[in-house]
Subunit: 337 residues, 2 copies
């Protein structure tokens, strides 16, 4: 039986083996991905991002448990750590997950240390999500650690992106928040039993107001309430703010409701297909780029490339001229000025 | 007179105009970059990175002032903010800089909001550094905000990378530190007058020890001292740890000495050329990729691409098959399984 067939039939060992091949970008994995592709497009991809210390891992853990217990969904978790490109990094919370979720054949957890380029990470993550999708995992949670562009790239893969905050992480990170907020479909204030939760929610509402000018915040007896402005555009989605205490399982049901509402919104507005299209479009471009580069390097002699590179180092040829000459197969040597 | 000529002659207005063109990746900027390239390769590129709240901007400000006053070097500052890809982000500390450095024609500050892809940012940053290099700025400081892959990519541009820490930013960021530390050539503990500075230094030394196993830490009367193990490899560089209080200008001279020592080390070990080679190599690859993609999209009809994309969306064709068929100019339609 082929690896693909075994994966489709729910063989976990085959699944694990294929995921490793995908991570290594092996030729076999390409064949398998092609064979599995017709079976994809059924999962709900949920991205979870936020600064370290917000308790993302516990939250993801609880969400997974919720989908298992209450909806009997198969759940895959992809934990990506792009903050530590050299050491490979330790994805926190794995131990916690193991205790609650191991032994459940409806859950599969994959940690990805992010070696290599950022583009590479999101490409591999997309491919891994496709494998889980084909293997029948209806909920795929992609968790990323850190803050910055990496999150944004990976969030683009998801249908629904959760941005997790926590009280008391300081105002230094406000600048980052502003950027991250714009990728949020659902906002989560985890550790909501900690002091400062009101401040955190207020700060989030203020930032939301800036990002979504159609939201109006009314102050009523000192309590901020977000009210959507009269909406004519059915496509409008204002990210709800959910409070959770993941370590105690509090607020998880309400969070799952927000996620379900967002999925419903995506389907009704046509954005579900739009996000699929964007994701597959990026994937195709990345593949095109990779293939074009590979073909180029096959077509050129190593020594020729080194020779041109040497001229660039000596400032005899600019990078632009070098690329042009390499692509045109001829060289326009130039005297050093 | 051409823009290039004006830039070479030190015209600041022409320089500002060219930088904008480079940021917009205009065809004129490509010509200018090619014309300027022979004049590059003389600057010391210093990367400065670290979490928000460490006081990086003040530190960069002080370093710039130091090089102006004590060495009469022309200094360029490129402030990149990759944490806020959508809003463009506010690069902090610009106001502070303006007060101390404006009016000095030997200093040029350029803030870059990072729109678009991360690859795009480091490519543009590299191009902007080249312009400053050709324009005679001997010290080019590239400052990035945030933590993660983005820093790493941008640090790869620099000859010397400073990683800035500050006491009391919490242990939550330890995981990030581990990754970031490996790109550090010089470690800076800024805000060294704040409580907890000893803890911060101890944590850094411990992490350094892990990253550089040749470093030995001796504990002497409870005080940690880092002593380099007997070195036979002249290429070995152990990142020194410098304490600064940038707001008061303290420790800046010592920091500049560490930076100078690192530059000297790079030149003696041959790593200066190696870093140049790596940087120009990445630049060439990025240009190659861009050019190959542009040529591909020119060679194919838009409708053809859309048609294939539609088949991918319908899961009739996998992305791999789609790319293959596009590149081979023929289509291998497949029935949906």
């Amino acid at each position: 039986m082929s690896l693909t067939q075994a994966v489709l039939e729910g063989n976990r060992l085959a699944l694990a083996r294929l995921l490793t091949q995908v991570e290594n970008n092996s030729p076999e994995s390409r064949v398998a991905l092609t064979e599995l592709f017709p079976y994809t497009g059924r999962s709900h991809l949920i991205g979870v991002t936020g600064a370290p210390g917000t308790g993302k891992s516990s939250l993801v853990n609880q969400l997974a448990l919720y989908y298992r217990k209450n909806h009997d969904r198969k759940v895959a978790i992809i934990a990506v750590d792009p903050s530590s490109p050299f050491t490979g990094g330790a994805v926190l919370g794995d131990r916690v997950r193991m205790r609650d979720l191991s032994g459940d054949s409806g859950v599969f957890i994959r940690s990805m240390a992010s070696r290599g380029s950022l583009g590479g990470i999101s490409q591999t993550t997309a491919a891994i999500a496709q494998v889980f999708d084909a293997a029948g995992y209806e909920i795929i949670i992609i968790e990323t650690v850190g803050a910055g562009q990496s999150e944004v790239d990976i969030a683009r893969l998801a249908h629904t992106t959760l941005v997790v905050e926590a009280p008391g992480l300081g105002d230094d990170i406000q600048a980052i928040k502003a950027g991250i907020l714009e990728i949020a479909d659902v906002l989560v204030i985890n550790k909501a039993d900690h002091p400062g939760v009101e401040n955190t929610e207020r700060a989030l509402r203020t930032t939301l107001e800036l990002a979504h000018p159609t939201t109006r915040v009314f102050r009523h007896h000192g309590q901020a309430m977000t009210v959507a402005a009269p909406v004519t555009d059915s496509k409008l989605w204002i990210p709800p703010i959910n409070r959770t205490v993941a370590t105690e399982g509090k607020g998880i049901t309400e969070l799952a409701v927000s996620i379900a509402k967002h999925a419903e919104h995506l389907r009704q507005s046509g954005d579900w297909t739009a996000r699929d299209r964007a994701r597959l479009g990026s994937e195709m471009e990345a593949l095109l780029q990779e293939t074009l580069m590979a073909r180029f390097f096959e077509s050129i002699r190593q020594e020729k490339y080194e020779e041109v590179m040497e001229k660039v180092l000596n400032r005899d040829l600019s990078p632009y001229e070098a690329v042009k000459s390499l692509l045109n197969g001829r060289e326009t040597g130039k005297e050093k000025s």
